[in-house]
Symmetry: C2
Subunit: 330 residues, 2 copies
């Protein structure tokens, strides 16, 4: 089992997971890319993954057989494992605990495709609903504090398999970046009496210059302090702290926005590697006035180097106003 | 000129520098790698860089001509520029300022080599002394708050040119990661009355299991909560907050340790991309009891992906105890 260790100086957490070194690397095997041969996520290869946790299936199809549209399985090389107790321990300066949590893979299509833009809106809606359902389920486990849903597309974004999938890692600690968003937005709320994300949305819709798309319930924009070139966020216009409250109608609308943004990014950047991450409130947080769930989409065309690692300062070569203008123009 | 923007939620700063998009990419031109043809950093090509700021030269050699051993020049595509005032401004939610600062390149050898392991200890000592001298010089500029010295080796670590060099970016803001180290170590100091880094050094030397090398004045170790596989830190054993206080004898000893660590990493990992970063106190900090300068060396063999960007949690597949054991064994 992995362990979770805390840096005693800055409080950053690290998962030390030896088994992760052994996982397969599609991108080192060019022949696999062409046709999905040997791909453990393709339909008909269900026996190559651990047994499914849940799936969206045709009526009368059987678990771990063909006939599914979205399939959730445990990660074969999990960073965190679901069995056991946390066993928090301290050894002088150092705090650590067992690597307890969940690490699931959401296989988003039986077809060997790789990008969200290749899903239909109906297919993507089912994926977005499965995200919600998994968060609701994992929240019931009181050892867990947070569920992070994310997607890596392309080797430049850290993907190790090509077949379209996203991941959910549920951690026994609220991650530091989430904590910073929670405390930063709470500070604003206490001082100004309103949600900073709602304020950003209102202001950006007024000025228009960083808006990419807008629908009745969602807005896609390039944030004022974008870390990455063409970084784009999607936010619900109506205040809501928790992604898992999304209903099917909103998921359907969101699928159009998410697919649209990724299609535009791919058109302009010629199929970039990218990540997206769902930012939502920690499990023990009820609906709160200060936090606003959203999706951050990060094309990985400029590489973080020594300066970024050392400082937490980012250098972005494309002003978000120019990025939004280009994305709107597609 | 670039601008520096603050994320209104988490307080992260971003440099938006359009000119950086235009910089050359050695690694897209394989033929350049073989022989340094067209390399702007090779001896004899001094006219391909901006005019030098300072250099270590043979007696009687002329500035911007041959005859140098280490040469410091302004970055041709600077993230920050030295002219002008900060012009801090706010626009509602958003804070920004002009991209004032310094962005220098330290060319570490006239020869077309790429890794620190290819320098002699005497050459590396001169580089380490130039680092010190540039910090002392830039500190005199009261618009500047911090000087970050870092090195990117290999495209996987964000290098855009192959010829051995490091960079110094001086910023008008103390970077958030440095701030976190300063406040984290101060909190420990206030509570326990001692430097947390000194405590870590003492403890690690006692237990030995994460120690890589030790000399009379320095220790190299794999930190307890290593973010990256084979991450290694070098710390002076005697408490000191500021790198720029290093003297020539200590720089000479440090050169042996730094070169030794990188040689070991390259032997085990077969020439990995890597970054190193000098962590030192902000310009306005005098010698303080709680902060301890050090160098962090990060091989870039495991890639940060969506999970790391989203959470600030890192997944490291190699326990630091195993990494230190392997590095000691070389």
């Amino acid at each position: 089992m992995s362990d979770i260790r805390k840096d005693p100086i800055v409080g950053r957490w690290v998962i030390v997971a030896e088994n992760r070194a052994a996982r397969p690397q599609d991108f080192e095997h060019a022949e696999r890319k062409a046709n999905g041969r040997d791909c453990p996520f393709c339909e008909g290869h269900e026996h190559h993954t651990p047994r499914e946790i849940v799936a969206v299936r045709e009526p009368n199809s059987m678990a771990n057989r063909t006939g599914w549209r979205v399939r959730v399985v445990p990660n074969m090389f999990p960073a965190l494992e679901s069995d056991g107790e946390l066993g928090r321990q301290s050894d002088g300066l150092y705090d650590m605990m067992h690597g307890v949590g969940a690490h699931e893979v959401i296989i988003e299509s039986p077809r060997h495709i790789s990008s969200t833009s290749e899903l239909s809106e109906a297919e993507l809606t089912e994926v977005l609903c499965i995200y919600r359902d998994r968060l609701i389920e994992l929240k019931k486990d009181h050892r867990l504090a947070y569920g992070m849903l994310f997607k890596n597309v392309g080797p430049g974004a850290g993907a190790s398999l090509e077949h379209i999938h996203s991941q959910l890692i549920a951690t026994p600690i609220v991650p530091i970046n989430v904590w910073e968003e929670m405390t930063g937005s709470l500070e604003f709320y206490n001082y100004r009496g309103k949600c900073i994300y709602c304020d950003i949305i209102r202001r950006e819709i007024e000025s228009k210059k960083r808006i990419v798309f807008e629908t009745s319930e969602f807005v896609a924009l390039c944030p004022f302090a974008s870390r990455f070139a063409f970084e784009t966020w999607i936010l619900p216009k109506t205040h809501c702290s928790r992604y898992e409250k999304i209903d099917s109608a909103a998921a359907s609308e969101l699928s159009g926005v998410l697919k649209g943004v990724i299609e535009s990014l791919e058109k302009i950047l010629e199929g970039p590697a990218y990540n997206y991450i769902i930012h939502t409130a920690p499990f023990d947080t009820d609906e709160v006035g200060h936090y606003h769930w959203h999706i951050e989409i990060m094309p990985r065309i400029n590489k973080a180097a020594g300066f970024e690692w050392g400082t937490g300062f980012y250098i972005n070569p494309v002003p978000p106003e120019a990025a939004a203008g280009a994305l709107r123009g597609t």
